[in-house]
């Protein structure tokens, strides 16, 4: 597999991680502190 595949894989993982940050923040918004 080519360089592009691995770079896209890395980008996709970090994209998902940023979505994960947003998801955790959304969950916090739904809970009281």
């Amino acid at each position: 597999m080519s360089d592009i595949f691995y770079l896209v894989t890395a980008l996709a993982f970090f994209g998902i991680s940023i979505a994960y940050v947003k998801g955790c923040e959304k969950l916090r918004g739904g809970s009281h502190d």
Partner: protein, 603 residues
């Protein structure tokens, strides 16, 4: 244990505790932006770095900003390393002329991920694969950066407990720069000089070819070893300059170098517990956490050393001397350096896996089943037995949240920790971090235990080792069971260990797996990414939520978390979570292997 083993352990523990308070106190001053001895000589460099990068170190970040800055920084440094590794053939400091032939795209991905995540899993032999430039720039940069990021995250989590009604948890860039300049740099400079004095080489010479006593030709690999060795150990990175890692005489030339290495590995993870206590205003809180780490660490050292010292029934049956004498270590010496013997090897194995370092001075695959169980269990705890720099503390604080939650359930009170009410969201985040690790280890090990990849056709490359890059022939494995040297329980242990090591960001190998194939490089690479970042994010979210809370006054009903009772509870929670989650896996691997060995001895 032998008298030497006990003496060495006592000296090690004594020196470690002596380091903890001054280093922890110093780190607290650094991260709170107070003046230190190094403020004058390094302050200019710190300010210049901020100016160059356009950073306002006083700008407080919300947890989401902190997390995204960390992710962006990690992605950028990962891509840089990937590119530098793939381009090593046209970059300088490459006297052996290594190219993309050795550094294939999947190996570059695995290696870049590995060093970015502080794992330093090496699916390759460094001395026949990568140039000095790759070693010193592409990889060593992460030995600093990934360690600094881990410590910065721990400091941000500490601020979550320390701050009251605050919206931010610090500045990621300032924390990372301060850690690099004031903590890692001075210790590394001094440590490198110590290693050079102890006989570790530091040069850019081409490899030497010498004639051995038997008349054979041997190539001796060299390089800038001392400067990399120190940050490799101090930053709990663990990636070897040589394939034999810390059993190589150029990385670890003597018993004293071995002892110094052990001190480097646990120094920051121990000291940061004091930093935690100092920053939350009660150093006893830090000692309670350190107590739990030390109790778990000591238990592992005693079990591992005793198992290795006892040897196996097969060694006894073969009339091999297993009792220690003045001239030899006795016990199970397979895979161990004669220079280090049983005590220094077993201590190293426990320390390096407890700390998410991953450097090895012996082959863990050769340990007795119970001796090998200890390094494996250490990693499966989520690397909290001292743990990686920073990572050990934030992992242990995750368990502390679970401990006070369980204690709260038992007495029917809302749990509190360091003056903060622990509510639904904090427990959700702690559980998310725990479950992500377990899912990565168990699913990964399960998949590679059963998957049957094609041995022929267009997809055969997936599980092919590129032997032609090293002057041999490619090996097409097909089913993943073919990549392991051993069948049965030991083979399963090798697979479980690989995913525990990758997910725990440890990087040590049980050996026995040929992991440099596209399939393993991608799967283990993803396990490293999940183990690092999908654990950090919920812990930062927890820190953000805690920082916003007001302090709860201590009352007669507050469960104290700064005493030995809490330490015991914390140890219990780590053991119970570890046992409940991983016992089936351990039972199929080292535990069943232990009983198989016993059964063979009695027939």
């Amino acid at each position: 244990m032998t008298a030497f083993g006990i003496l060495q352990l006592a000296l090690y523990a004594g020196l470690l505790f002596l380091i903890t308070k001054p280093l922890g106190s110093y780190m607290a001053r650094v991260f709170q932006g107070e003046k230190t001895l190094l403020s004058k000589p390094l302050g200019g460099l710190e300010r210049a770095t901020y100016r160059l990068l356009g950073i306002d170190p006083n700008r407080d970040m919300k947890w989401t900003e902190y997390a995204i800055a960390m992710l962006v920084f990690s992605l950028a440094s990962l891509v840089f390393t990937y590119a530098a590794l793939r381009l090593q053939g046209v970059l300088p400091l490459n006297p052996q002329h290594y190219t993309t032939k050795q550094m294939t795209p999947d190996l570059a991905f695995n290696t870049a991920v590995s060093f970015t995540t502080n794992t330093n899993w090496q699916a390759y032999s460094p001395e026949v694969t990568i140039s000095y430039f790759s070693n010193m720039v592409a990889l060593a940069i992460h030995n600093w950066a990934s360690a600094a990021v881990g410590i910065a995250i721990a400091i941000a989590v500490i601020r979550g407990f320390a701050r009251k009604s605050a919206s931010g948890i610090g500045n990621f860039w300032a924390d990372t720069v301060r850690c690099t300049l004031y903590v890692l740099l001075p210790i590394s400079l001094l440590g490198a000089l110590v290693f050079i004095a102890l006989g570790v080489p530091q040069n850019f010479d081409p490899y030497l070819t010498v004639t051995t006593l038997e008349g054979a030709k041997q190539t001796i690999a060299l390089g800038p070893v001392a400067s990399q060795e120190v940050i490799k150990q101090l930053g709990t990175n663990g990636g070897g300059i040589f394939n034999a890692n810390s059993s190589h005489p150029f990385e670890n030339p003597s018993g004293i170098a071995n002892f110094f290495t052990l001190l480097l590995i646990w120094s920051i993870p121990a000291a940061i517990t004091y930093t935690f206590g100092k920053m939350v205003g009660n150093t006893k809180q830090g000692w309670a956490v350190l107590g739990a780490m030390a109790a778990l660490g000591l238990a592992g050292i005693l079990i591992c050393t005793s198992a290795e010292q006892a040897g196996t029934s097969h060694l006894h049956a073969a009339h091999i001397e297993t009792a220690a004498t003045a001239l030899q270590s006795g016990g199970n010496m397979e895979g161990k350096e004669v220079r280090f013997g049983i005590p220094s090897s077993a201590l190293f194995a426990t320390v390096t896996t407890g700390a998410s370092c991953g450097a090895v001075n012996s082959m863990h695959d050769s340990y007795t089943p119970l001796g090998g169980l200890v390094p494996l269990f250490n990693m499966l705890t989520g690397e909290v037995i001292f743990g990686g720099v920073g990572a050990g503390l934030y992992g242990m604080l995750m368990f502390a949240i679970l401990a006070v939650f369980i204690a709260g359930l038992m007495v029917g009170r809302t749990p509190e920790y360091i003056g903060k009410k622990i509510e639904k969201f904090e427990v959700q985040m702690a559980m998310l971090a725990t479950l992500v690790l377990a899912a990565s280890v168990l699913l990964g090990a399960a998949v590679v235990s059963v998957i049957d990849l094609p041995k022929e056709g267009a997809w055969a490359f997936l599980n092919t080792w590129p032997g032609s890059a090293y002057g041999g022939a490619d090996s097409v494995y097909g089913a993943t069971a073919n990549n392991v040297n051993n069948s049965g329980a030991h083979g399963f242990s090798e697979m479980l260990y690989a995913f525990a090591s990758a997910t725990g960001n440890n990087g040590s190998a049980f050996a026995g797996i040929t992991a440099n194939t596209p399939f393993y490089n991608v799967l283990l690479g993803l396990a490293m990414l999940v183990g690092r970042f999908l654990m950090i994010v919920p812990l930062l979210a927890m820190a953000g939520a805690l920082a916003k809370k007001a302090a709860v006054p201590v009352t007669s009903g507050t469960f104290p978390t700064d005493n030995a009772t809490f330490t015991a509870l914390l140890v219990g929670v780590v053991l119970i979570v570890g046992a409940l989650t991983y016992f089936p896996g351990l039972a199929l691997g080292p535990i069943v292997e232990h009983f198989q060995l016993q059964a063979l001895a009695t027939h």
